[in-house]
Symmetry: C2
Amino acid sequence: MARPTMNDVARTAGVSLKTVSRVVNGEPTVTPDLAARVRAAVESLDYRPHLGASMLRRNDRRTRTIGVLLEDVSNPFSGVLHRAIEEEAHTRGVHVLTGSLGEDARRERELARAFRQRQTDGLIVAPTASDQGYLSRFSGTPIVFVDRQPSGFLADTVVSTNIAGAAGAVRHLIAHGHRRIAFLGDYQRIPTARERFRGYLQALGDRPGPVVHDIRGEAAAERATITLLRRPDPPTALFTSQNVITIGAVRALRRLGRHHSVALVGFDDFPLADLLEPAVTVVAQHPARIGRVAAGALFERIDGHDGPPRVIRVATTLIARGSGEIPG
Amino acid sequence: MARPTMNDVARTAGVSLKTVSRVVNGEPTVTPDLAARVRAAVESLDYRPHLGASMLRRNDRRTRTIGVLLEDVSNPFSGVLHRAIEEEAHTRGVHVLTGSLGEDARRERELARAFRQRQTDGLIVAPTASDQGYLSRFSGTPIVFVDRQPSGFLADTVVSTNIAGAAGAVRHLIAHGHRRIAFLGDYQRIPTARERFRGYLQALGDRPGPVVHDIRGEAAAERATITLLRRPDPPTALFTSQNVITIGAVRALRRLGRHHSVALVGFDDFPLADLLEPAVTVVAQHPARIGRVAAGALFERIDGHDGPPRVIRVATTLIARGSGEIPG
DNA sequence: ACATCGAGAGACAACGTTGTCTTGGAAGCG
DNA sequence: CGCTTCCAAGACAACGTTGTCTCTCGATGT
């Protein structure tokens, strides 16, 4: 037996198709008697309206669905961001299509196109590709960027205060007597990684320490840290610009038995950072707030707000826990 | 300017509507000349087919979308599960609608209904409600359960070997000389929590230790652990049945300075467990595998596989790291 | 040269719903 | 009592696409 349609309900209730439509949509111009018959028929047939069909005919053309493209939904930062967006959407009766990109630029374009083709009302994107120019054809679908600034395309963007946060972290190390402070960073093509590096340079002025870019993954971070510390003039402190890199660095310091002698401040908090020995000092981002703000901005746009693209910066917080206070 | 339709393309290319449809769908019965003209028109108008409309008319009625309902996408277990499902779906060109339930039974029903109404081709659910009977009306939409066994409704289910895993954990503690082993568990109404408790009882036979059920959240777990250890006859070892509870227990042991004297084995691994002091011994689940298997089962069903409901159990692995080997 | 065939391309209906217009009958009014 | 007014409820078209049928025209065979 196929899914029942309005027509089936109409026949069962002995009314016209349109009357069923009216009852289902809660229009007030139906006699209580007929409405009751229709509702009984709906119940007995377990009728559910076909959203695709009504979408097609309706005037407003809203699917009440948004798309969210993140780097990796299993990463804690993305996970919390995702949850916050979902929560905002839920209060508005909107559903969320999710995609993980994993730094794959092609997948970003592919999924953005696919989601748009499904008529999502809007898109929240943590950009991975080096250029978002392809989005300029997406007129009509509001977009909000999170975590990273886009390039080649302007839209509302919600990011952490990366430069200030990174500079603050490095100044914190300087204040504890360090002069040779190493930088360990993610792919340089990621705007966020570049900003954090700028913050690092800003704080150190004309005396930067050793720098390693383009580190991807915990294992690579661990190796890079070990190499750094085996140099003839090893740094006395590390600034790691992303949570996965921070964890790799912690592993390396442990392996070398240097975790109580080399200082460490990481960008982005992570679960259990406070339970390690020493507890890890971090510049915490606020992914839940970023998510809420981004979702808010997106829904404003969907509801027709029409102003110039905004960049909203969410402040970071330095959380001193021990590893950043080891003296130089 | 509104979104262009096939009709617009047809007019621009000077062909009939149906010919455009044929070209767009790659049917071979179009002269190359016409096909080229159509493709040019598609390109110049930036035409994208309206999936809703084609869905409506097509015979197969597939939306190429599945729904995934998890406890909380920001929890590491759910996050990894989610990612694995997404990956499987991606290889099949299928998209994923996500919802977090947060132990809210009403939200489970609400989202399940909503997703179905959107004609998702299938559903993967980590059940939260105490009864999934409401799903019996969902004929036609394949469903696979993960992480927890459903009740009141039968369908393919992919779960960890909870009883055996928990029993193994407790036997591990017994082997290290412990006799008073406490159990700290989640809401008893969660089937998974009950199974792990059964494993605990099985291993201890007629001499169970102190038991605390219905613990929800890290803070509650911390409090419960402190209370336990302040009893006149405190346990010498703890078995915590869920990762959040394990972390709460670690916090409590630290606070009391007992982390090197009270043994601990937790169910479910968590990031950085190996970096704590002592590193935490766990019964690891394999959420990525659970996700892959569940997605595989769902797609089999979607493709028409029609057998009796299966229960697939994914084995757990005991990972000894230190906290579980503290002698009794 | 004529009947037959095949294949490309268009006409038309249909999917399940909602917007708009029309109908019919009851109520309201002088 | 007859006329207008009003409103519930039905008829019909339309949304953007695809399935099916039909038509046309050139190629093939005898």
